[in-house]
Symmetry: C2
Subunit: 436 residues, 2 copies
């Protein structure tokens, strides 16, 4: 059979990984796909470097437009990133009848609806396994492996940078700023780490997973996004004393009122397998009504792990391109005319458990005041930790774990607690998920 | 679109789960598959019970032949089990142009080559996600999610019964026979647990995984199979002292000389995520050259978890049936004309690390004799544990962990060690995998 010809937009870390793996495992991949898959054209601004990496085996250009309009190209891989030129080229590739593979979570989470609509109309595939959790085939699991299930919730460690930072903070008892600097020195965090540490990257990925889990349009603008920059070493320590680990989770849940979609540092019981995912690794826990909990673990970033997902998409497209479009696996797991308009809940309406830390005067009655406020709002207490004040100090920390309640109740309670004369400064609030 | 009509052979635990989940999640599944999937015919010897479970919605017969030859049936689900009538009916369904979904690992591991050949010739699909690790979509991950990779090895906890028994033995310090009885009382082990506890079930599953990981025919007859019946509580305890857990693993490895395919109790470092998979849960760890290690975890058995996999296959077939057969996902992940004849290595040629426990006279020189034997066979020692003899006893246990060596070397060493005057009884040998 004729080889499948692939055009690559951007030959950076993932692009060169894709090029190399495709070359190294050419025979293995052909044995699986039934035909050869070849990158025949590369667009990159740095054409010199691109030529160095690719050798003479393919054409190198500096303008992506030449790739997406080239009549010989069957599939376009978009690895440029961002929303600007990447979006233009993806839409142009689709308009030209090319199938598209992309690792661009930011693009899909924010402009996915437009892109998938265009692909649907044109009858081409847009595949994006690499956009969530790198090499872990989580998109395939959600879209195909768990089709029997009503997905109930997903909780994922889907940003390696922040998981590395949190693991180091716990291991070494260091604070966020110190570990961030180390992570940057080691290449685990970028020079501008904002998207990672503020939770934006994880929210892009959670948005995509919510869409294919429930059959809803991409709605990144409605996601709640809280990063790890304000997390203190003491919270990690107190959580540990109570039997919990703190992880930055991307969470999406189906409730009778709508969909929860949120990213924030989360206490999870240390006995859960996912609590023991350390360093830059990723893991996604999925709860389905028939299968129960399944977990998917692996490298969420890096050149070859991400390339593994990109190439899996190439093989999928190669295999499925001849199925009539109505029978292909739908882009968003559900048929385009069967998407649901379940609303994304505002954060005030989500239901979870909480960790509260407050700095208080160490004298009788303080705890009574705090617990009274919680009780008045029907928030019940699951566990408590009261530290002894240091030598010569009269103030101490109280940590309270609550049972499940609505976020707006806990916000109201914190407002009242902070007004107490015996409570100093702001109350620290973290969310807690049992994941069972 | 016309509904897909499904015939079900056997409505026991998994069959009734499949029937119920398909009914309960009908809308959700239709939104995904693009058309309705309906069980319209059920064959079971107990027609009365079948009618009770299925209600009036479908025809119940007592002869599977009526299902596999019925002109209205598109897909046949085989949940009879075993190699006899199940094989006949599967082959007959294929001959009649039906696609087949089966959870029958024993059938595929032993007669899969014949079945897939027939399916290939007839242009129908045979899907078997439910045959390995229940609801975990591990077949899909290997066959589609990791197509970019040269798979290097797989190690899986793929039998829930034995993992439950091992977890209980460790937790409670009980011996095998006691825990087996408890497991039987709780329904975690069958009345005749032979296939589970002797490792046969795990070997069936490992055989299937090896086939789709490397593109080789099913070769169950060449698998090495060792169960957990001879495992002693003391070995679990000693392993723990050394930082290891003992799990029954199905292992398959690609080596320059051929494929290792083996099931046996295995020491693994307690820090590995898979070492912490407890109770009846399953987990499969896959090492690919591009993606690195990925892990898949979930329920490996049970009515609805297994039904989840069966129905995922139904949806897959519904989606892909219109792709021309050459472009469908190949049954065994590799194109049928691209299977390789890599040999399965005899056990004497496999390479791994070992745990040796011996009962010895507690006096100087004994250890020197043992280590001399190991050194002569170029087996190097990684760790050692020598227990103090009990009060008034003159004999004690020595435990040795070796570095990697060939199985035949360790067998030769043990033969010599057992001949020492100061060593009493047989040397216990367990294999150890670092899984890194």
């Amino acid at each position: 059979m004729k080889p499948i010809k692939v055009g690559l937009l951007g030959i950076g870390t993932v692009g060169s990984g894709t090029f190399n793996v495709l070359k190294r495992n050419q025979q293995e991949i052909m044995r699986r796909a039934g035909r050869s898959i070849e990158i025949t054209m590369i667009a990159d601004l740095n054409t010199e470097r691109a030529r160095e990496l690719a050798g003479d085996s393919c054409e190198v250009v500096n303008d992506g437009n030449l790739v997406v309009t080239h009549p010989d190209i069957d599939i376009v891989i978009e690895l440029i990133g961002g929303y600007g030129i990447a979006k233009d080229l993806v839409l142009k590739a689709i308009a030209n009848g090319k199938h598209v593979v992309t690792a661009n979570k930011a693009l899909l989470a924010t402009h996915g609806n437009e892109i998938f609509k265009a692909a649907q109309e044109k009858g081409v595939m847009v595949a994006f396994e690499a956009a969530v959790a790198g090499g872990i085939p989580i998109i395939k699991a959600l879209r195909e492996g768990l089709t029997a299930n009503r997905i109930e919730w997903i909780a994922g460690i889907i940003n390696g940078t922040t998981n590395f930072i949190l693991s180091e903070m716990r291991d070494k008892g260091l604070d966020f700023a110190t570990v961030l600097k180390q992570a940057q020195a080691l290449g685990y965090a970028e020079a501008d780490p904002t998207f990672d540490i503020e939770g934006v990257d994880a929210a892009h990925k959670a948005t995509i997973m919510a869409s294919i889990a429930y059959g809803i349009p991409m709605q990144f603008d409605k996601a709640y996004v809280e990063g790890i920059t304000k997390l203190e070493a003491s919270d990690i320590r107190y959580a540990e004393e109570l039997g919990y680990r703190i992880k930055l989770l991307g969470i999406t849940k189906r409730t009778p009122d709508g969909i929860e979609l949120r990213v924030h540092p989360t206490l999870i019981p240390e006995k859960r397998l996912i609590a023991n995912v350390e360093g830059a690794m990723n893991a996604v826990l999925v709860q389905g009504d028939a299968v129960g909990a399944t977990l998917y673990y692996g490298k969420g970033a890096g050149s070859e792990p991400t390339a593994s997902a990109v190439i899996a998409d190439l093989v999928d497209i190669t295999r499925l391109a001849t199925a009539d479009p109505e029978h292909r696996v739908p882009h968003l797991a559900f048929q385009p005319d069967a998407l649901s308009n379940l609303p994304i809940l505002p954060m005030s309406e989500i239901v979870t458990s909480y960790y509260l830390r407050m700095h208080v005067e160490d004298r009788p009655g303080v705890l009574a005041d705090v617990t009274r406020i919680l009780a008045d709002l029907t928030i019940s207490i699951d566990a408590m930790l009261q530290k002894e004040p240091g030598d010569g100090e009269t103030r101490t920390d109280i940590i309270i774990l609550t049972h499940q309640t609505k976020e707006k109740n806990i916000v109201a309670a914190i407002e009242k607690i902070e007004q107490l004369q015996t409570v100093f400064g702001a109350v620290t609030k973290l969310r807690l998920e049992e994941l069972s």
